[in-house]
Amino acid sequence: MDTKEILLSIRDLTASVEEEEILHGINLDIRPGETHVLMGPNGAGKSTLGNVLMGNPVYKQTGGSILFEGEEISGESTDKRAKRGMFLSFQNPLEVPGLSLDAFIRSALRERTGKPVKFMQFNRELMDKMKLLSMDPSYAERDLNVGFSGGEKKKSEILQLLMMKPKFAILDETDSGLDVDAVKTVSEGIRAFQQESDGALLIITHNANILKSLSVDKTHVIVKGKLVASGDATLIDEIGKNGFEAFGE
């Protein structure tokens, strides 16, 4: 297989948290523009995979390789992975007092592109995206995630996704804890990302609602740290009907 066509190539990936192995040999290929869905029961290793891919120091990669655009990124620091074009939407976005949302996105963009951010253009785009996500414009100047509701925090993550335009984004349980309307709004944001860019997505979820309006290329089922099934979007309906039991949980 020509690895150059593959954006992210994961081979025999093993990882542990506090000496306990959680991932037992994951293999996965994602091409530019593809949307993959990763489903599985609680504790199967979904979030661990997302965090290991992004280089969270709490998780330890113990074996295997991760190639991004053909280059090995295992052991590379999180910021370098981000600069390559990787992105993680957090399940529980952190609050940072004294750092405003817009200033944060601006400095992140500048860091990623290595270029100064054009103020007017940035502001216009930010306001457009916030409108798309039904976010009140005043949130731009508020401290990052401080006092945001669960839904607002997830919208703030998708806003960052839309502004940063990564080549590959992991969305870790972006739908968890959201009401129906918020899931719909967030889902629209993700669809906009799909349409506006050729960025690839790995959507981690155990809820099919967020996927309704999204086009999905591949679906994977993870159980006990292993990918036990892969298929197209129809797999989602199957899981919806039968749960994860059929996959050996």
Binding site: L94, V96, G98, L99, P116, M164
Partner: protein, 482 residues
């Protein structure tokens, strides 16, 4: 400094200069200008009656001031060293020269300032700041002011802004005599007595009734001489209904022997007047900073302190506000950053005397690399202060496990018809938050600096833009200087 002033954006995220900053260190402040002996008059080290008399003579004091100095010296000799704060046994008065001055006189034109001194201030961006955003500037180098200037329109409104020496020997002598060390008497503590004996330099400001000074006045104090003390006296009177913002900046280069700063600030806020007093202290890390600042507010008067304490080896600093008049109000917003080898004991004091007086303390302290930061405050509500409200809010951030942060808030209430609230938080930087910022492409050091700057933001947003930028830079320098 001129480098960083090019981009005076308040938030750290807006700044474009971090690549440059990675290569900068404290040398920005630590540069030493070799003082040629023949250009400077330097008092011999130590503290004796003879030395105090010499200083007084050197400064052409009026008779009463000489008496005041000698009496202060007596009090100094009788007063014990404080035993409740950071240890100060490293400070040996026999090795401190209490008076050093350039042989040239103070001037009102920047061009006339001696070249070497001018260079020092140029590096600190002082005249540049004046051109851009100040109504008047004073610059003190070692013990005496070398430059003083106030904008014509401000002077025309009756505002007096001059060096203490001119005020003392000129037409404002009576006003000085009436207020000088009345708010902070030499009996207050040992270093107030020391100040009374050897004080030199500083600024005198009088804002007449109803005059609102739209842009700030600033004094900058630089202690350049090795093994010396700086004892400037700042006396500000804001008359009824008047309004002033005064900014003080301090720095010194680093030597391997102790330097001492024992300044004194006395602020008189008259009826319905308002004074904001902002400070960025960035002393070098061999400095003992034993500074006393106090304000008194008459009816409806407002005092606002904004304070950034960065440098010094050890600091004792608790600006206090005496809320004497009914309905007067005090606010203190401060940030302290203690790095390696630093023991900074800072906070504020609020004394409620008048009815319906209000005070608000909001402080942030940060410690790193074994630094010790102690927040110490005192809120006293007198029996007379019915309807008083006070709130104390202090947060500490420890950047590693070898640093220490303590909180010593004291509250003394002599009436039950008052309301005092207190909240303290001590925390560490969350690794998860660092990971979060890094996942957006920010390098680890940058991510940490952003979190720390954010923590200090309640203070920096109270500062004028270029000072906020300077403070964020200092935080960055401290974060990188580990």
């Amino acid at each position: 400094m001129s480098e960083m002033r090019k981009d005076p954006a308040i938030d750290i995220a807006e700044r474009e200069d971090k690549i440059i900053l990675n290569d900068v260190n404290r040398e920005l402040y630590d540069f030493i200008d070799e003082e040629r002996e023949e250009d400077f008059y330097r008092m011999e080290e130590g503290l004796t009656e003879e030395i105090v008399r010499q200083i007084s003579e050197e400064k052409h004091d009026p008779e009463w001031m000489l008496d005041f100095r000698l009496k202060s010296l007596e009090i100094y000799n009788q007063t014990p060293v404080p035993d409740w704060g950071p240890p100060i046994d490293g400070l040996d008065m026999d090795r401190i020269s209490t008076y050093v001055r350039s042989k040239s006189d103070m001037v009102g034109s920047w061009d006339e300032v001696p070249e070497d001194i001018k260079n020092a201030f140029d590096k600190l961006g002082i005249p540049e700041a004046e051109r851009e955003s100040l109504a008047g500037v004073g610059a003190q180098y070692d013990s005496e002011l070398v430059y003083h200037n106030v904008r014509e329109d401000v002077a025309a409104s009756g505002v007096i802004y001059t060096d203490m020496e001119s005020a003392l020997t000129g037409e404002y002598e009576e006003m000085v005599k009436e207020h000088f060390m009345k708010l902070v008497p030499p009996t207050d503590h040992k270093f107030a007595a020391l100040h009374g004996a050897v004080w030199s330099g500083g600024s005198f400001v009088y804002v007449p009734k109803g005059v609102k000074v739209e842009i700030p006045l600033q004094s900058y104090f630089r202690l350049n001489a090795k093994g010396a003390g700086q004892f400037e006296h700042t006396l500000i009177i804001v008359d009824e209904g008047a309004d002033l913002h005064f900014i003080e900046g301090c720095s010194a280069p680093k030597y391997n022997i102790a330097n001492l700063h024992a300044g004194c600030v006395e602020l008189y806020v008259r009826k319905n007047a308002k004074l904001r007093y902002s400070t960025i202290e960035n002393w070098s890390k061999n400095m003992y900073n034993l500074n006393t600042k106090r304000a008194i507010c008459e009816e409806g008067g407002i005092i606002e302190w904004v304070s950034g304490s960065f440098g010094s080896h050890e600091s004792y600093l608790y600006p206090s506000s005496v809320l004497k008049g009914d309905g007067s109000h005090a606010e203190f917003t401060g940030v302290t950053f203690a790095g390696r080898g630093q023991n900074l004991d800072t906070g504020a004091k609020m004394i409620h005397i008048g009815k319906n007086t209000t005070s608000f303390i909001d402080t942030k302290s940060i410690c790193k690399d074994g630094g010790i930061s102690t927040y110490r405050s005192s809120v006293v509500v007198a029996k007379s202060a019915e309807g008083a409200k006070a709130s104390v809010n202090c947060g500490s951030l420890m950047l590693d496990s070898i640093s220490r942060s303590d909180t010593v808030p004291a509250i003394e209430m002599r009436t039950d018809k008052a309301d005092v609230g207190h909240e303290a938080k001590i925390g560490r930087i969350s690794d998860e938050a660092v990971f979060y910022l890094m996942s957006r492409g920010l390098p680890e050091a940058e991510a940490r600096a952003m979190i720390v700057s954010g923590f200090a933001n309640p203070v920096s947003k109270e500062l004028p833009l270029e000072y906020a930028a300077e403070m964020n830079n200092l935080i960055k320098l401290e974060m990188e200087g580990g």
